[in-house]
């Protein structure tokens, strides 16, 4: 997944001592302008040829570290999947990776780069660097999976079964109308005994493009039409036509000319 430049810009870290040495001697105004340009360049990805070399170097270093981190995360995920397949075998891998053991170790805004990022090694480096694998105090992989996939009942009658992840996705699709959509499906399953067997995956039924989504959109449109009844709402085409007619048949300039002529006479 490629990151957006603004996302990368948030993760750029500057060594404060080096930066202080670089900006030494600048006036307040110059420093303000330099900082403004530096932030702008970081957001744009340092594509401007006139980017300060210091800023460009810091950006490239941070970008490299971010790419490294992404690769490590991808490896971790792959290893976890492999371990899930071989769930019966004991897990000899150990790690003291601060990312996996500390609670809020995910990437945050630009911070002071005081310690180097851990380098991924799959060997037995006994130094301070971490080794890939699950932490000693982590829960077993199978338990983690079960928590993710547990379905909970939703709706007035509790017929609609959704996991948390599905719920989040549907919230993005429907927004504030999610409750309406769930109630529609819930009522349908309540009234049709066969629907409970027919619909195995309720999240799929609620997804965009299916009948529940269409029904919710029609309800929203109907409500908008009811709200606009008193407004004499015109279509864009009609409004455009009326505007053009008004433009062409506007005789205010000519009327003023005639008034001026008649007053002159």
């Amino acid at each position: 997944m490629t990151r957006r430049r603004s996302t990368i810009a948030k993760k750029v870290t500057f060594d404060m001592n080096e930066m202080a040495a670089h900006v030494y001697g600048m006036t307040d105004e110059e420093l303000g302008k330099w900082m403004h340009k530096a932030i702008k360049d970081c957001i744009e990805g340092c594509i401007d040829p006139e980017t300060d070399c210091f800023v460009k170097r810091m950006y490239e270093e941070s970008y490299g570290k971010m790419q490294q981190k992404q690769k490590e995360n991808a490896n971790t995920y792959r290893n976890r999947l492999a371990r899930q397949k071989n769930s019966g075998k004991p897990n000899h891998d150990k790690t003291n990776d601060p990312v996996l053991t500390t609670p809020s170790a995910s990437g945050s805004c630009a911070t002071l780069a005081t310690t180097p990022m851990p380098i991924s090694t799959n060997g037995t480096d006994a130094g301070a660097h971490s080794v890939r694998g699950t932490p000693d105090n982590a829960a077993p992989a199978s338990n983690i999976l079960q928590l993710d996939t547990s379905k909970k009942p939703y709706g007035t009658c509790g017929h609609v079964m959704l996991t948390e992840a599905e719920g989040h996705h549907l919230r993005e699709v429907y927004g504030e109308n999610l409750k309406t959509a769930i109630d529609i499906l819930d009522a349908y399953i309540e009234n049709n005994g066969k629907a409970a067997k027919k619909y195995k995956n309720h999240a799929a039924v609620l997804r965009k493009g299916n009948w529940v989504y269409e029904k919710v959109q029609n309800m929203i449109l109907a409500q908008k039409r009811i709200d606009n009844v008193g407004n004499n709402h015109k279509s864009f085409k009609q409004m455009d036509r009326d505007e053009r007619t008004r433009f062409f048949f506007d005789t205010s300039v000519v009327d003023r000319m005639i008034d001026n002529e008649s007053s002159a006479m």
Binding site: F248, F249, T251, S252, V253, V254, R256, M257, I258
Partner: protein, 161 residues
């Protein structure tokens, strides 16, 4: 000059200016010409009004100007007052002055948009009530014709014929 004639004169004058106003706006709209503010529009209308072209033939004059652009090898674009003056001088669209064209002060029946202008609608009402299309008569014309009549009488009386 009676009141009806005065009213017809005023309406014919207003109609001419409204027709020019409409044609200029249509030209700007069609050819994405420069939008004119009120003062520039008034000036443009005044300058086009001075051209010795009757109201009936004005749309034809605008079309002729666009034909002139194409014949010169240019893309048709929004017409200027200079283009219209040039066309008046060097090209002919079948008019000389107001009297040579029938109903010269009214837009042609084919120009349906021009016939929706407010001045035309009022003129149309008057003509339907009087059942006659009374042409506008310039007040100067009246004065000149009266003066000519007086001179003729004097000449006759002096010569004794």
């Amino acid at each position: 000059m009676n009141q009806a004639q005065c009213k017809i004169n005023t309406l014919a004058r207003a109609l001419r200016l409204q027709v020019i106003n409409y044609l200029v706006k249509e030209d700007i709209f069609k050819y994405r010409g420069e939008n004119l503010n009120d003062d520039d529009m008034a000036m443009t209308v005044q300058l086009i009004d001075r051209l010795p072209c009757c109201t009936r033939k004005l749309p034809e004059l605008f079309r002729d100007a666009h034909r002139m652009h194409c014949e010169k090898g240019m893309m048709p674009h929004s017409v200027t007052v200079g283009d219209l003056e040039w066309c008046m001088e060097f090209r002919s669209i079948g008019y000389k002055c107001e009297q040579n064209v029938k109903y010269s002060w009214l837009p042609a029946p084919e120009e349906t948009m021009l016939r929706r202008l407010p001045a035309f609608i009022q003129l149309d009402k008057i003509y339907r009530s009087t059942k006659k299309a009374i042409p506008p008569m310039a007040s100067k014309h009246d004065v000149v014709s009266e003066a000519n009549a007086i001179i003729n009488e004097l000449a006759i009386s002096l010569t004794g014929n």
